[in-house]
Amino acid sequence: MARVIIEVVGLTAGFGDDIILRDLNFKVYEGEIFVIVGGSGCGKSTLLKHLIGLHEVKSGRILLFGKDITTAREEELMRLKQEMGVLFQTSALFGSMTLYENIALPLQEFTTLSQDTIDMLVKIKLAMVGLEGYENHFPNELSGGMKKRAGIARAMALDPSILFLDEPSAGLDPVTSAELDGLIKKINRGTGTTMVIVTHELESIFSISDRIIMLDKSKKGIIAEGRPKELKMYSPDPKVLNFFNRGAISEASRKGYKG
């Protein structure tokens, strides 16, 4: 069995008095594409922000490589953070910097590489996401899909072990979205990077995910875990069937499960 990269134990998350997620338990294994799915407002992005240490947990533990990030000391947390790359929903590229500067920034800050090597690395990363030659462009000169790809290149700058992607295909047309899915899969298969992706796009879920968990707003927790194709056919939970079958619960598959 592959190594456990992330282990979430009894995580309760929320803001102020609001509890958004209650007592979550799951594991993410090395090299897999793990997708967090669920309807709007069910806490997918909140969960992701807790996993990357942006929000404080209410209770529970988040173990990254066996280290609890909720209690880790700052230096250790910094080191762990360099093991992860994040693509934000809005790409979050630094608007005042060119693509080159965006990608070179973590390399210049956290490594002792020579300028030559950094230049080459930036070129390779940009080429990896199909943006070769865009070094001197500013983020606002790019289309939505290009920004996402540049965001992935920046997230990959330090060759992280885990890549977190928050709704990568949000706001993209189907073709660009499919291309991005292809890119994510290519990077995952090529580099072996573990990926944790938040999305509600069914096509993406089916085409890229190895395993998923599904969150539910009313239950404030996980209502399904497994492979999406199996869940689509055999889940005993009507909410899960509904989600994977675009709201039309397939009677046949339910019978199939029962029989």
Partner: protein
């Protein structure tokens, strides 16, 4: 058999279908009223139709009404609402109502109207404002929270400043120089102009009074003491707050809204060290120079008045000025401007980091950076005035 036929004209004739007119004709048979609606039943016609229908009900009190919809040309959601409302009114008033010749389009439109929603009472759109005591409490809590945030940011800023002093290579000098240009060089024209005019006005206004006593010779000393001790640092601080404190808040606030700060944190950067330190350092470095520049500009403005109106020579003016101010005063003035620089840049950055929401949040932060900046300038200046009084 009675047979009435009358037409109703509603709305204005237009090419737009919605604004066409609606008509109805009425026939009566054995106590049953048959109404035939025709034309456009839309936003612009339903009120009139409803009024007329109610009139008929009131005057004739029929047992059964049949409404023929075969001649309706156009019906929108408001038209469908009209039909639903008439139906509901019929239920309550106890007469029978029947729609006939309702085509598919009208049926589909009627299907869109959720009758349950119509029956439920209006949800209160206007929330009752909190009471006086509640508001005072809220404001107090938010003020305490605000002060706590400022103090905690101040602590972080001091820590990061000390850290930067010990890791001088880690300071982003490129950014420091960029902000020195933005705060300092780009601010020169406006600071020069305002200070020059201030010197000019001060010299002119004071000369009007001093002239009466033949004390024109004191204009240069009055102006130089006022500028070096108080007005130079204050004017510069006010202008830097307006130009740069607000810009820092807006810049960091926009980065916060765009998740760029989150991205920095997840990349392992300390946002205060990365974003605030270069701005604070740059402001602290350029503020004394800007203050000096402001003093000199005011001096030139005063000299123009002195030479042109007060019959002083340039030499006398300079001599009188030098006599009035000493190095201690200048040093204190420069020190004061550095303290003010930390406050202006610090509060600008702090307000940026607290932005929540979108564009409006950024706007609020910008305003708040300027207001809080000006407030702190006055407080610190007063403290300086009191302390210096005892030195």
């Amino acid at each position: 058999m009675k047979n009435f036929k009358f037409f109703l004209y509603c709305g204005i004739h237009h090419n737009v279908p919605k604004e066409g007119s609606a008509f109805y004709s009425k026939t009566e048979e054995n106590g049953n009223t048959v109404i035939s609606l025709s034309g456009n039943i839309s936003l612009f016609t339903i009120e009139e139709i409803l009024l007329s229908l109610r009139e008929i009900l009131k005057e004739e009190q029929p047992k059964k009404i049949t409404i023929d919809l075969s001649k309706v040309e156009y019906l929108d959601t408001s038209g469908a609402l009209l039909l639903v409302r008439v139906e509901e009114e019929a239920k309550h008033s106890g007469f029978t109502l029947e729609y006939i010749n309702m085509d598919q389009k009208i049926k589909a439109m009627m299907g869109l109207i959720d009758r349950d929603v119509l029956m439920t009472p209006q949800t209160a759109t206007e929330k009752r404002g909190p009471g006086f005591i509640e508001r005072v409490g809220e404001e107090t809590v938010s003020l305490i929270k605000n002060i706590r945030e400022v103090v905690s940011f101040g602590g972080e800023l001091i820590y990061e400043t000390l850290y930067s002093f010990f890791h001088i290579k880690k300071i982003r000098w490129g950014d420091v120089i960029l902000y020195m240009k933005k705060v300092g060089v780009d601010g020169l024209p406006i600071i020069g102009l305002i200070s020059f005019l201030l010197g000019l006005i001060l010299a002119f206004m004071s000369s009007l009074q001093l002239k009466q006593f033949g004390a024109n010779i004191y204009v240069p000393s009055l102006l130089s003491i006022a500028m070096v001790r108080e007005l130079g640092p204050i004017m510069t601080a006010i202008l830097v707050t307006g130009r740069s404190g607000s810009a820092f808040a807006a810049e960091i606030g926009t980065m916060k809204v765009n998740e760029e700060i989150d991205a920095l944190i997840t990349m392992g950067f300390n946002p205060v060290r990365f974003l605030a330190i270069p701005k604070v350092f740059a402001t602290v470095i350029v503020m004394p120079f800007l203050t000096l520049f402001s003093d000199i500009s005011a001096f030139l403005g005063g000299m123009l008045i002195g030479v042109a109106i007060l019959d002083l020579t340039i030499y006398t003016y300079i001599q009188q000025t030098i006599k009035a101010i000493d190095v201690f005063n200048i040093l204190i003035s420069l020190f004061k401007s550095m303290v003010l620089a930390i406050l202006i840049a610090g509060i600008g950055c702090q307000r940026g980091f607290t932005v929540t929401g979108g564009a409006q949040g950024v706007g609020n932060a910008t305003t708040s950076a300027v207001v809080a900046g000006l407030f702190l300038i006055i407080i610190v200046d007063s403290i300086f005035a009191i302390v210096l009084n005892y030195i």
